[in-house]
Each structure stands twice: as structure tokens, then as C-alpha cells.
Amino acid sequence: MSSLVLSDLSAGYGRVRVIEGLSMEAKGGETVALLGTNGNGKSTVMRCIMGLLTPSAGSIKAVIDGTAYELAGMSTEDIVSLGIVMVPEGRRLFPRLTVQENLTLGASRRLARKVLSRNMEFCFEAFPRLKERRSQLAGSMSGGEQQMLALGRALMTEPRILLVDEPSVGLAPLLVKRTIEKIKELKDERQLTVLMAEQNFHQALTIADRGYVIVHGQIVFAGNSAEELNNNELIQKFYMGL
């Protein structure tokens, strides 16, 4: 099982500090939700973990199949090659390549290439719609289909830790529900550790084991169960206007 521990993390863009002294973790096999409204730092946390942004202080430790790694300062390519994969905000598919080509590109790292055909089959089973549209250009698909493709593509990279950044954005409520359910399914099947940043508090809690609430770049509440999060006053004030 693989786990992720962030300690005292600080990061920003230029002189703007976005996150400050942030600590959180995702233990093996868990689904951890990172909750908060837009602009509070969720995506910044994700980008730091993936090496798209270099933190100014703090550490990000990942344990993959028993070996520990310090992610802060590593290049994105090296982080991905460890099996830490992100489904980015806005999907970021390759619009002029087909579904199949997008999936194949997902399997670019060496380990993933070895199991490419096995993973491709798995993807098509998990997402039969993708199999139907395997030769369709990714850019011409609907929002829901694109989200499926983005998830599938991440799976092709043979992840151990899966980061999902705002999976509900731009999707109709029914599709959001399905997408979130799918993430849980995949997590169980592939024994992943999942960290999910999500604005849609309700939906996120349907699959989260634990969760953190982030406001202005700091963790203001760490809930050890979905119930705890549900019952928390702060959250009720924020999300339900109570």
C-alpha cells in the first residue's frame, strides 16, 4: 500500500503565498477528501505534490510499495514514474487525439507500458462508453465522457496513489454522482490511495474515509470520518449557510 504525508508545506506564486505551514496525510488504501471553495489552495496542494509547483518550505513524503521518497524538489516526470498520478482539473485531454491515443499516451512510463494491454482492457470494461468511442477525437466528446476518459487515462499510468482535482467541475449533478462512484470503484479494484480535491462537499463525503477543510491556505478542520465532517459547525456554516 502507498501513502502520502505533507509536513509544514508552504508554497505560492511569486510574492503571493497561497498555502502556509500545511500538514496532512493520506494513508494506504484511504480516500481522503480535500474540501474547500475555490481559491483556497486545494489545487496548489495538488500541484506541489505533482511537482508542477516547487514548495518554498516543508516536505512531501511518499511511501510507495515500502520505499520512502521525498517529493519536494523532484521533477514531475520522476514523481509520475513512481506511480503518483493526477487527474487534473479541467481534464486536460489531448483534444485532437482519439480516445485510444489518449489512453495509450497515459501508459508512457516504462512500468505502465509493460501492462498496457491489460490496463486498456480494464479501462474498456470499467468504461464501456469509451470502448464504443475509441476512435473518436477526445475534443468532440461530452463533459461526462471526457471525465471518464481522464480517469481512464490516469489508470493507464498504473498508479499507486491517485490524485483527483475537482472531478465535478462542469458536470451535471447526475454525472457528478456517477463519476464519484466510479472513483471509489476504481480505488477498490486497484487498491489505490486516493486524494481528492473537491468543492462539492456532499458528493465528496459519499466516498471519503477522512477529510480536511482548507481555508486561505490552511487546514482549519481535520475530520476522521465522514460523519465528523458532516456534523462539523464550521462546515455547516460554510457550505450550508447556517
Binding site: 505533482m50 508542477l52 521533477s75 514531475t76 516526470e77 509520475v80 514514474s81 498520478v85 493526477m86 487534473p88 486536460r92 485531454l93 489531448f94 483534444p95 485532437r96 487525439l97 491515443e101 495509450t104 499516451l105 497515459g106 508512457s108 512510463r109 505502465a112 507500458r113 487515462r153 499510468t157
Partner: protein
């Protein structure tokens, strides 16, 4: 009786399609060759958004190296071009690294980057003049000077061979882009660089490879150039317009669009040269380019600019 026959003969001459057909055939072969030159721009500018103005100068440099290998070692021109491919590939890698470090990373790819490539164009041309003189050079090969003909249409082999080689090169690279991992990554890097990083692929590495490939095509295009016509250092400039026009008109990411546009360009140049005035030929390409930019920026087969 005699007068009537003569009138009928004159009428037949006017309707005789042969000169036109010959011009079109020559144009098709010329266009196919132009595509070989434009291929490097199709990759560097069409796929990677790098405005490599110096590519035609590299093609001319390739022509000169072919001339040397042909005149000193008797090597067949096309073979000479192939031999130079690895060297040109390395040159491309180096140039891209320099461009990336100095311009792409700083985000100032516009003014300075363009001036950089213009400087390279100029330096290459002047270096060729200093190294090989300003005279016209040509190569010898068994197929230069002979022609095939059928149905009254003459196909000079010195046009036919480059046409065939060019098509082969384009088809080969197209298949590479479609079927190999690196090829697909090259397509992807122009669509979403960050997403590619998230797949564990380094965009800079992919772009260097692509730019290296683009420069490598100059080695072959150069060998074809000197088969088609004698070469002197400054003729690269005539090709800037043709190459960019072909890529823009054909649609930025599309090889076959570029090929189609090149052939249309070749036919137009050929007809205007034959029937009117050859000194207008290099300007025709721009005549295509400017309206395309103004009105139909997605070109014939490709994506929007």
C-alpha cells in the same frame, strides 16, 4: 482548300491541352518537392509553434553538403542526403536547446525568438558564401538529364526522383507520428504540455527530438533541391514564403494538408512561369499566404491558428 485546313489546324492548336498538361505535371512534381522543404516547418512551426525562419537556409546547407559528397566521393545525391541526416538531427537538438534556454523559458518567444532565427538564417547563408563561394553548384547523377514521357507529357527524371523521395519521407514521418510513442507524444506536446508532463513524459525532451527531426529533413530536402536545380547560397530566401505558405494553407498540424497546399502552389507557379513571367514565381507563395491568413486561418485541412 489549303486555307481552310490551316484555319482548322490553328483552332486545334488553341484547344491543344498538351502545354497546359505539361505545366500541370511539372507543377505537381515541383509541389511535391516543395513539400519536402516545408516538412521541417510543418513540424517545427505547425506542431511546436517554433517560427524557424532559418530552415530554408539549412536546406541549402544540406544541398551544399550533398554537392560536396557527390563531387568528391561520387555519392548519389539522395544517398548523400541520407548520410547527413544524423548530423543535421544533432544540429537540430542543439539549436532547440539553445532556443529553449534563451527564449522559451523566459517567455519571450516572440521578438527575440524571431530575430534569433533570422540571425541564424543570415549567418548560415553568409557562412555558405564564405565556405563555398557565391557560384551556382550542381550535382551529377544518372537520372539527371533523362526524362520519361507518355501521352505527350514529359516527366524529367530530375523532377520525378525528388517527387517520389519527398512523398516517401512525408509518409514515413506521418506513420511515425501516428504509430510510435514518441510520435504521439510529439502530437500531444503541441496540444497540452502540462498534461503530457503528468503522464511522465518530459516536454522539453520531446520537443528537442521533434526539432531534431525537423532539421534532419533539411538534409534530405537539400539533396532533392540540388537535384532539381543548381544551388547558390542565397536561394533559401525564396523558399521561406513557399514553406510557410504551404504549412499555413494546409493547416498547421496536417502533413497531408501541407502536401496538398504545396502541390497547388507548385502547379500555380508552374503555369504562371510557363505562360507569363518566371520572375514572379517566388512572390506567388505570398499571394497565397496573405489571403489565407486574412480569411481562412484554419487552412485546407487543419486546425485554427
Amino acid at each position: 482548300m489549303l486555307a481552310k485546313n490551316r484555319v482548322r489546324e490553328d483552332a486545334q492548336d488553341m484547344l491543344d491541352p498538351l502545354p497546359l498538361l505539361n505545366a500541370v505535371a511539372a507543377g505537381v512534381m515541383l509541389g511535391g518537392f516543395y513539400a519536402a522543404v516545408a516538412l521541417g516547418i510543418a513540424i517545427a512551426f505547425g506542431l511546436l509553434d517554433i517560427p524557424n525562419l532559418s530552415h530554408p537556409a539549412f536546406v541549402v546547407a544540406g544541398a551544399f553538403t550533398t554537392w560536396q559528397l557527390n563531387s568528391r566521393l561520387g555519392l548519389d545525391p539522395v544517398a548523400a542526403g541520407v548520410v547527413m541526416v544524423p548530423l543535421f538531427f544533432l544540429l537540430g537538438l542543439l539549436i532547440y536547446r539553445l532556443y529553449h534556454v534563451c527564449f522559451e523559458r523566459r517567455g519571450e518567444a516572440s521578438l527575440q525568438g524571431l530575430a534569433f532565427f533570422f540571425g541564424l538564417l543570415f549567418i548560415t547563408e553568409v557562412a555558405l558564401v564564405l565556405a563555398a563561394g557565391a557560384d551556382y553548384r550542381s550535382v551529377t547523377a544518372p537520372y539527371i538529364g533523362t526524362s520519361l514521357s507518355f501521352a505527350g507529357i514529359t516527366l524529367p527524371e530530375r523532377m520525378l526522383v525528388p517527387f517520389v523521395v519527398s512523398l516517401a519521407m512525408i509518409a514515413l514521418l506521418h506513420q511515425f507520428l501516428l504509430r510510435s510513442f514518441t510520435g504521439r507524444a510529439i502530437q500531444a506536446v503541441s496540444q497540452d504540455q502540462t498534461a503530457l508532463r503528468l503522464m511522465g513524459v518530459g516536454p522539453t525532451r520531446i520537443k528537442s527530438l521533434a526539432f531534431g527531426l525537423a532539421t534532419a529533413t533539411a538534409a534530405i530536402a537539400g539533396s532533392l533541391l540540388i537535384i532539381v536545380q543548381p544551388v547558390e547560397p542565397s536561394i533559401g530566401r525564396d523558399f521561406i514564403g513557399r514553406a510557410f505558405a504551404a504549412v499555413v494553407l494546409g493547416g498547421m498540424g496536417s502533413f497531408y494538408g501541407m502536401l496538398l497546399a504545396s502541390i497547388i502552389l507548385g502547379i500555380t507557379e508552374s503555369i504562371i512561369s510557363d505562360m507569363w513571367n518566371p520572375s514572379w514565381a517566388p512572390a506567388i507563395a505570398f499571394g497565397f499566404l496573405l489571403p489565407t491568413l486574412a480569411f481562412r486561418s484554419s487552412g485546407l485541412l487543419g486546425r485554427r491558428l
